[in-house]
Symmetry: D4
């Protein structure tokens, strides 16, 4: 791969007369454009927010997960393995990699490193069954360097519990609202505050919950502006975007 | 049709020896069972709550609607014609039948008669676009003899408006909660009070509202017990059941 | 939490000059509104109909279920655990909590206490496969203090069995009609009587039953007024609302 | 096209030595198989039940419909044009073709010819809005030579009206049961008699009727054996199959 | 239960003056109509086509299945248990009931009795994976007294295999056409013959086969008239209706 | 309504002995909580981001729209009327209200007022048919005070056009990505930059685009983290949330 | 834009010492990759198969369509405008552009130019209602330089008509198979020949045809390998890919 | 079966006077057309592309699979068994059949035989979880005699990896593009090259991926012409059609 050093050497060679301009032209014209800086975008991307630092475990063997984690952990702290079942957790435990396993969200943080916690992301969830997804969002957001407050069990059928946290919602830069069943929590939260609300439908429920589709549709049809939605059970994705917003606000880029 | 009189005469004839038991047996064995009281059920039904006193207009010509209304109005007051478009309204206006036309819910009440208004049914709606369905429920409930209070524009994105009516909800025997979009209103209301809430999804919204399916699913998945649901835009059906409940409570059968 | 005593003390302090009005104003303006009576609503709610006295087991560990039941049973009789699988049942059995386990509906009643059985709720079901859901509705309704009559195996393909119970339907305050497959039972029942019918679709069937969606749609489209619907397999929800209606009618609030 | 005459002449030529076997072999080996009797199947088919004698009008211009009808009417009586709107009806009226136009089912019968009416097909429908589809089934069945009895307005919410016709159902060879909304009629009819019931869902209803899908699903999930289903609003198809059955029973092939 | 004898005795008592007409009137007016012949319908139904002689096993314990089978077998031969898994088969084997177990369609025939095989029902299937459903249809049809011919592996991608059986199709009274995937078999068969075709979609396939919905939709939209459809995998239902048709044609009622 | 002044007066009265603490306690305990500051939330909300300054026109008469706009415009500039058809536009034109009508997004801005344009929101759209929705997002975002850059016609089938704007994307605080058909634009954009991407599916397409559901599903399943989604065609909602983010970042609250 | 000349000049400058290597490095590292040949790809693409030479008319005004056509026609012959309604056709007619309008497929060919017709593409359709889509595919394929044979009205219910064209299918390089309703045509064709079959579902049908979804699903589940599918009614897309295949085969690139 | 020899003998007999033309006519008129060459089509088909040489394992016992493979392998090399689970693999291993088992795609090649690899098929996949389906396509294509290049892990969120292979795409005759989640890969590839792209959606994803339906819909709605689609996870079908195209191009028929 043509990287910066090789490009610089090539130009030096041209300047020094060791390579005629025509040969350099041909090499540059045909070289894959990613050799010429594009890969940096990718490198840049890897350095930025950790997209490359997270491993989605389903469909990979425990060995594969460990191998990828080892590679990533060589360069990064707080590498994440999401939806890690017990076999993956055991393999990581056996690997000698320093890590913390969060059983509720089935999340592993490799080379965990406390971060200062800039800004505030509130993760709110409606029922106890929504906790695994909410906790995935919370731990991911923390690993990405955000200060996180959890507000649990504030479904819309018990408004007083929800309203008791109104001030906290108002202090946040962004709220991640996690709910299954009728999925009304994000609408109510967005009606109380003027902050972006990222809604996460969960597959909690039965019958016509349709594995979270009912909650998803409710969230997409929110009567309150300021709500956007991620995939069902996608606590990771919500935390990722919440972190993007929070870091922009906190000028940590 | 064999009605009570004819049955009694038949038995008198048997007792008097005018009809031998064998002939009576044959007549009774083969007679349609509805001749023996079953039709009364139907008659009884027509007298009860007005199921037979309402005409669903779509799919009928204006003339047909007028003809049915005339027949029903010969025996009943407060005969309803639901989903009556302008052509139907014009035909009824031209018919000479005493009536009131409610343009918002497209509802006609023929031989309107104020009723005392027993019990209390609260009809709550989330947005202004839900008003036609809510008003259908309200006028139908009034025509069926209930006292009705309307609570409009109390969507969950503006909780304070909804909470301001909490006492009213608590005084009712049953609440009809009408909402489109994310359909969260019934859950919130049912969380506030211990009264049956009949939820009516409306086809209000766009995109993934799926003509009311999103609201319907949300209502079916309510995290608050005490919510049952009728078809999309079915204000009539909700009012009918609300009236059944209210009349039971008020001992008006 | 600011409760009544503290509010009263604050006002006393103002009256006594110990707290200037401005400080009191600031404290009152910012205090969470639930401190000022709103929590009572919640307390009131917990005392009313038992919403807080039921535990939905899926998604909770057996230990968690036992813990919650123990807390609730400290203050309430007839605490319910719904959808309790065998592991939960074993944990509750081992807990020493007085209880009855109903295996068909997988329902546990903790601190069971016979109640007088006010009013009448009829629970009707179409086929034998609908029995678990029907029995959930029946036992829940009994636990909430209703008199319950069960009418089983009265699917619409065998009308005579259904019609044989017509008088019983007529004596009830509310009918819970449970059916899978084509879900026609509620329509037929509602055509026979003038009582609210709460329809419960079940996930019984195969192929295009779509896990109960076919029955649900049929019930929502009932040609008989007086039918409202709850979620698929939601016997608990139907019993809850039936009990609300029955208690209203029986003036037991 | 190689028809019977030409095949016979070829064989005669072989027998007479006018065509050598090799040439005949080549001609026979390569000739399209439909030349050798297969087309007769088609001809046979056209003569049988009238599949080719019906024109589905949507997507064709009035002129095209008239042209096809003229061709078919040259050889057949009782040629059908289904779903003919007013423009088609006007074009047929102007064409001089002898015909009857049935406006309710939007059905034209060209060269109408009374047939003796073998066997009995009962066409039952649930509500007045189902009449167009039911009438399509009835007129098509009559045109195909069946005796038809119509039983209208016997929805399952008014069982006595349905039960009053039980004997008639029992006398039929096949019942076409037409219903929208919850689509329960076929189940109830099939529970009463031991005859094949062909169910026709209609697009009657609103909201979650989903243009007839709710009724279709209910019919497919009938708890009564003996029910099969055709497409939504497909009165023609139901009548066609009912006629096939009836003619088999009546030995009219 | 009031049966014929009791009605006759009542009338005799009236004639003899032992019961006054008024008392008889009251008894007759209130007696459940099923006491007056309606139950005969049910009895009649049980005797007819075996609706009551088949047990759908899912949702029942092996013991329950054995108990029901024992009761039915006391009065009927060829009692069917459909969708019987291995545990049910073992329980029936242990029960001492004379029976045959068909493992492919998971079907048990209790008190099997060869029947003469009137008429002809052809059961055609598209692929080898459709065989369990096809065989359910075939064995059920045989048990109900029909002559059955099986035509397997004639999917539409190998037309010559299908066409080779054209004459057999033509000799039948009714064809049961079983297919998964694209579900095109019934259309092709119905295009070849003028006999009713009962289509059975199967849940065979993957991805967008949607567990048989794709085949179901294709069958409902058949371009060939003469096709009606039963539920996905419902070989039993198709055989039941095919038998009704065949017996009508063969005058075996 | 009890507002701050009245609360302060009450406390002054208590301090002055004009109102005994007990009376004050009763008044405060029962007063609607919205009287005690909650309404301020609402007022605060109205002042913040303009939720109350936008009118969704469908379902309202032109007169109603004008009336609401007039009220809002009395206190706010840049009041929006979304999805305004020509009749609404004409009514607003006739009303004398100062305004600009944007015909492409059918958007009216009443009392338009140029704002300084803090931060940068990029609105990117895939095809020309997506322009109305993209333009709704762009104009709304501008009206809410954001600097907006439009990037049109950069569908994923022409990557070079999209890549040419990579730097612009990187300078933004948030990207609104609008696309119909396969809805891939947001994924590609989110892969290029580390900024929150708000995806707006449009109802552009035909056949299996399912009025935007295909694009919606694609966006929810984006393989790139950092994407959240709003309802189909909901340019307004995306702009609203984008503005919330941008203003947070720019410290304009 | 940095094109080849500018790159060459830059390298010459480096060689000549006019630009130091460091400056050149910086310029090269940051230059947009599309400056270095990527745009040529696009140019290349425009020259190739005509993706840019077709205009999808819906969502564009007649004037816009004319303007785009004029631009494209300046450089290309056989420019296509698809789904052109009458207003667009009139505008093009008034524009003076040389063109042919095909009313059935609503397709305009601007600067029509007969092409030699390399290879053979067969366009087969099932019913007369599928003709508009089939004809769109046929005319597009012809405009792209393919030899096209049309085979119409060969639905699977009339196999002999389909089989009569077997040899023609066998001579083609690719078959475009167009069908609505049950969508079985592609399966049958693919079973007859060993050529790629591109299936086009059409929105022809009613009820459960679901606007072409039923046909689409059937085609995706074809039991015959060698079938791939495009969007509902997408005759253009099928012809485009058929042409790609045909030109590859015919070595016309 | 009447084959060519028998036809020739019959004609000889006619020519020799041993069979009168009338008898020959009758025999020919009635003989199944497949006797006259049609079966050759089937034979031809079996010899062509291997439709009969692949076994879809689900729904077959390991013994059945071995038996079919043994029969096919008697006449063909490179016989395929797709979706072979471990039990099938073990049975084939025990059978003594020469074979290679590919565990990732669960594919068995019996009597594997390296083929020269004409033309070029590129199999591109988006994520690691798509590898099993991609590898199924690749191995099948190789077994059918194509040269295959694999391009993995080039999802649209990392464009540079995808763009790095642009030249390879351009050299292919056909690209098989495999992707789950948002399914955008085929659109991007088709935008880069002028070759047919066969898109394979995979069931990779969660929540609203709907087991691959989201990716399928995205692919059907591709904004890039030149994309056709096969069923979810159908790597075999895509490879089959790709091979058809490639062999046509390479003149290997």
């Amino acid at each position: 791969m043509m990287d910066s050093d090789r490009l610089r050497r090539l130009l030096d060679d041209v300047a020094a007369g060791r390579v005629p301009p025509d040969s350099a032209f041909e090499r540059l014209r045909r070289l894959p454009y990613d050799d010429l800086g594009f890969a940096k975008v990718d490198l840049h991307r890897a350095l930025r927010a950790g997209g490359a630092e997270a491993v989605f475990c389903p469909g990979k063997t425990p060995d594969q997960v460990v191998q990828i984690l080892r590679t990533l952990a060589a360069e990064h702290a707080n590498v994440l393995a999401t939806r890690a079942d017990e076999r993956v957790a055991a393999a990581v435990a056996a690997s000698g990699l320093p890590h913390v396993y969060h059983p509720l969200p089935r999340l592993i943080v490799v080379r965990p490193e406390a971060r200062e916690g800039i800004g505030l992301v509130v993760v709110a969830s409606a029922g106890t069954a929504d906790l695994p997804v909410a906790e995935e969002a919370a731990v991911v957001a923390e690993s990405l360097g955000n200060r996180v407050e959890r507000v649990h069990d504030c479904g819309v059928a018990g408004l007083h519990r929800l309203l008791a946290h109104r001030d906290l919602f108002g202090e946040s830069n962004v709220v991640v609202a996690v709910a299954g069943m009728e999925g009304a929590l994000p609408s109510v939260v967005a009606g109380l505050i003027d902050r972006p609300v990222i809604a996460v439908p969960t597959s909690v429920g039965y019958g016509t919950s349709l594995n979270g589709l009912a909650a998803l549709l409710a969230m997409l049809n929110s009567c309150a502006p300021g709500v956007s939605v991620v995939n069902v059970d996608n606590g990771y994705g919500a935390a990722h975007q919440a972190s993007q917003i929070n870091r922009l606000v906190s000028k940590v880029r």
